[in-house]
């Protein structure tokens, strides 16, 4: 019993981390109807950017200068956007129309100079995390401006293939820029295992502290997102866009801006996932496969449901760990020969497939009503 609980709890905690990746998918699918395969690549990119800013092992001074410039430019543009109130568009020829370009370039220059003065020493955490966020915001801008906007009104599958292209691009780009080894990420989360419930079971239950802190971080993130979606003006706009693009646009919600925000938020979620997974496994290319692990979570929970992503993650995480441990035992009992292990690899998918046969829209997905 103690062993079973240990497996179960370990699985649940891993499941929390799956839902962290699935969350990024759900956000983007809700707001723009894009099935974003690039979420895994975004996790890799955020992680690589962060780890190289904290402990530069691969990148040189000029990378720092570039990132400093980028960060400052993004920050400057965001501040400008907030100060000007968002939707004000200056007439062509007016000097204010050039303001964003001026602010971007100016802030970028200042940031670059500051980074040059600082040198390639590695930045403290409080600076590196906002910098990594700025990198992800820049990615969101590029994606929105150069991929989504030209592809507006295309079919879902075309957009999906475009995000596959983005995946290739980000994978290649981030590894060219930040190196492609395995980098340990240490931001002070303890990795020591602890024993719980020692007075209930003999020997207690072994749980990794890192998984617990990961779960706490995920909980905080979800709570933050819930508040953001329910209570803020932008959150309300996001929900409106998710509900109906055309209607939202007709009441004056700028779609492009909303997409940019949602991709930025997904980038931040990717950064959080990178921090948690990176502390566990190190930042490496295999983080991109997380995207594949998050897919069954998604279909189990429903593409459009944030709680679905959480519950789905828990179910998949717990289910696959328990199945992995007990599958050889059960098959030995049933067929007389133990089947080989490693079923973690496909169990989640088959579970999700069987589940879909009974509930085609997932656990919490919206019911699909079809008309001719």
């Amino acid at each position: 019993m103690g062993f079973f609980l240990e497996v179960l709890i370990g699985g649940l905690l891993t499941g929390v981390l799956y839902s962290l990746v699935a969350l990024g998918f759900v956000l983007i699918f809700k707001a723009s109807g894009v099935f974003n395969f690039a979420q895994g690549a975004m996790v890799l990119m955020a992680g690589l950017a962060l780890v190289q800013l904290i402990e530069p092992t691969y990148i040189g001074l000029w990378h720092f200068v570039g990132i400093g410039a980028l960060v400052a430019a993004v920050a400057g543009l965001l501040i400008l956007r907030v100060v000007r109130g968002g939707t004000l568009a200056a007439a062509k020829g007016d000097w204010r129309a050039k303001l964003p370009a001026l602010v971007g370039v100016g802030a970028g220059l200042v940031g670059g100079l500051l980074a040059l003065a600082g040198g390639a020493k590695g930045w403290p955490l409080w600076l590196a995390i906002p910098a990594a966020i700025a990198v992800m915001v820049a990615v969101a801008w590029v994606v929105e401006r150069w991929v989504l906007r030209p592809l507006v009104n295309q079919e879902g599958i075309i957009l999906f293939m475009a995000t596959l292209g983005i995946t290739f691009f980000i994978d290649g780009f981030s590894q060219t820029l930040f190196g492609s080894n395995v980098y340990p990420l240490n931001i002070g989360l303890s990795k020591d295992p602890v024993f719980l419930l020692e007075n209930v079971f003999e020997g207690g239950i072994l749980v990794n502290q890192l998984d617990i802190s990961g779960a706490i971080i995920a909980g905080v993130l979800v709570a933050g997102l819930a508040v953001f979606f329910q209570k803020t003006r932008i959150g309300r706009a996001l929900r409106a866009v998710a509900d109906d693009h055309a209607a939202a646009q007709s009441v004056g919600i700028p779609l492009n801006w909303i997409w940019f925000i949602v991709w930025s938020v997904a980038g931040i979620v990717a950064l959080v996932a990178a921090i948690v997974w990176g502390s566990k496994l190190g930042i490496q290319f295999s983080l991109t496969f997380l995207a594949l692990k998050a897919l069954p979570v998604l279909i189990l929970g429903g593409f459009t449901s944030v709680p679905g992503a959480i519950v789905g993650g828990l179910l998949i995480g717990a289910g696959e760990k328990v199945a992995e441990v007990y599958f050889p035992v059960v098959t030995k009992f049933a067929f007389g020969t133990a089947m080989p292990g490693g079923i973690e690899y496909w169990f989640a998918y088959v579970l999700a497939l069987v589940f879909l046969l009974f509930r085609p829209q997932g656990l919490f997905g919206e019911r699909i009503i079809e008309r001719v």
């Binding site: 030209p150 475009a162 496909w346």
Partner: protein, 358 residues
């Protein structure tokens, strides 16, 4: 001037319904096929045949299979790599366990097994649609990856998990040299492509397209969705399975499950989309694009890097070519979301008026 159909009168229904109703098209296609059979073996180098023509043709065959499912029937599948693997391993099993069977028959039987598995994995498509279905087909991909890697029976208990193809013996003709391999693959691909073209033009193909365009409406006018969808899955998996068997036996020679990983599925899907959904010609164009571009980038990038004074090591070259590849795919999707086949038909429209557009 040369590409005009004026004066070509169709006086029978069969002439009107021909695959290539325009005489110039007929001549061009015949010339291309004749050139591929008669001219290519004499002019092409072994490298070109072995590492460009053979894989491109096989990938095109697999892309035709996937296109039947995605482009004609509208059911997105991310599991085509698994069906290639099923075709390959089933053909291997037939070839070594029933050695009396001619090789061509084992390859086709590989396709048949793949078709049966395809029907089984197509059943969810009756209930689920769109991206839910796409993700569900990933289940096939991961399950079969695992099955062929872990269960020894499929690899005939080879300790390394890698499998060697049996001798390629087609009715007494031993396929050994690159030229022979090329001709063999070309013959199979030509026959199957013709079959596919006729399938999609006919009764079955129209049912698929009706289902793709709107399945409820199709059901109302009397098309059985179960029959149409499952037949699309079966035919598609048959083509993909035969392609997988060819890929393993002729192109690779010895292979591991990794040869049919999810990357292969994505490659095929890209080939279909870049070539053009719902076009047989597009499959060939897309497969050529997907196969040749990475090879080209691998060769062309290092000297280009030298030009700007950047010494790239092997890892950087591969990352950089990834990047360019992804960028190009996005670019293609933006410029022509209907694929290369669409570009070709636009070109044909222009050609009809050229050089006097008024």
């Amino acid at each position: 001037m040369f590409y005009r159909e004026a004066g070509q009168f169709k006086v029978t229904y069969s002439a009107d319904m021909a695959i290539f109703p325009i005489a110039q098209d007929r001549i061009a296609v015949l010339a291309i096929v004749a050139g591929a059979f008669l001219l290519m073996p004499f002019v092409a180098t072994e490298y070109f045949l072995n590492s460009i023509m053979v894989p491109t043709l096989i990938l095109a065959l697999a892309a035709i299979g996937l296109n039947i499912l995605v482009g004609y029937c509208g059911q997105v599948s991310l599991g085509s790599g698994a069906f290639m693997a099923i075709g390959a391993y089933a053909a291997y099993s037939f070839a070594i366990r029933v050695p009396e069977l001619p090789l061509l028959v084992s390859i086709l039987l590989g396709g048949v097994v793949s078709a049966m598995v395809g029907i089984a994995f197509g059943i969810p498509s009756l209930r689920i649609k769109g991206f839910y279905l796409a993700v569900a087909t990933l289940a096939a991909q991961f399950f079969f990856d695992w099955l062929f890697a872990r269960v020894g029976w499929f690899t005939n208990y080879t300790p390394s998990g890698s499998v060697n193809a049996p001798r390629l013996d087609v009715f007494g003709w031993t396929v050994n040299t690159p030229v022979e391999k090329y001709l063999f693959v070309l013959a199979v691909v030509c026959v199957l492509a013709l079959l596919a073209k006729n399938l999609v033009r006919g009764h079955v193909g129209r049912q698929w397209m009706a289902i793709r365009d709107m399945d409820i409406a199709a059901e109302i006018i009397g098309i059985r969705p179960m029959y149409a969808k499952l037949s699309a899955f079966a035919v598609s998996s048959f083509f993909v399975g035969v392609a997988g068997a060819l890929w393993a036996f002729v192109h690779l020679g010895s292979w591991e499950p990794l040869a049919f990983s999810i990357d292969r599925s994505f490659q095929l899907l890209f080939a279909v989309i870049i070539g053009g959904l719902g076009s047989i010609l597009g499959c060939f164009l897309g497969a050529a694009f997907m196969w040749i571009l990475p090879i080209f980038l691998d060769i062309a990038l290092p000297p280009l890097g030298e030009l700007v004074g950047w010494k790239m090591d092997k890892a950087t070259v591969s990352h950089f070519s990834f990047m360019i590849f992804g960028g190009l795919i996005v670019f293609f999707l933006i410029v022509e979301p209907h694929g290369l086949a669409r570009l070709w038909s636009l070109l044909k429209e222009k050609l009809r008026l050229w050089p006097f557009p008024y």
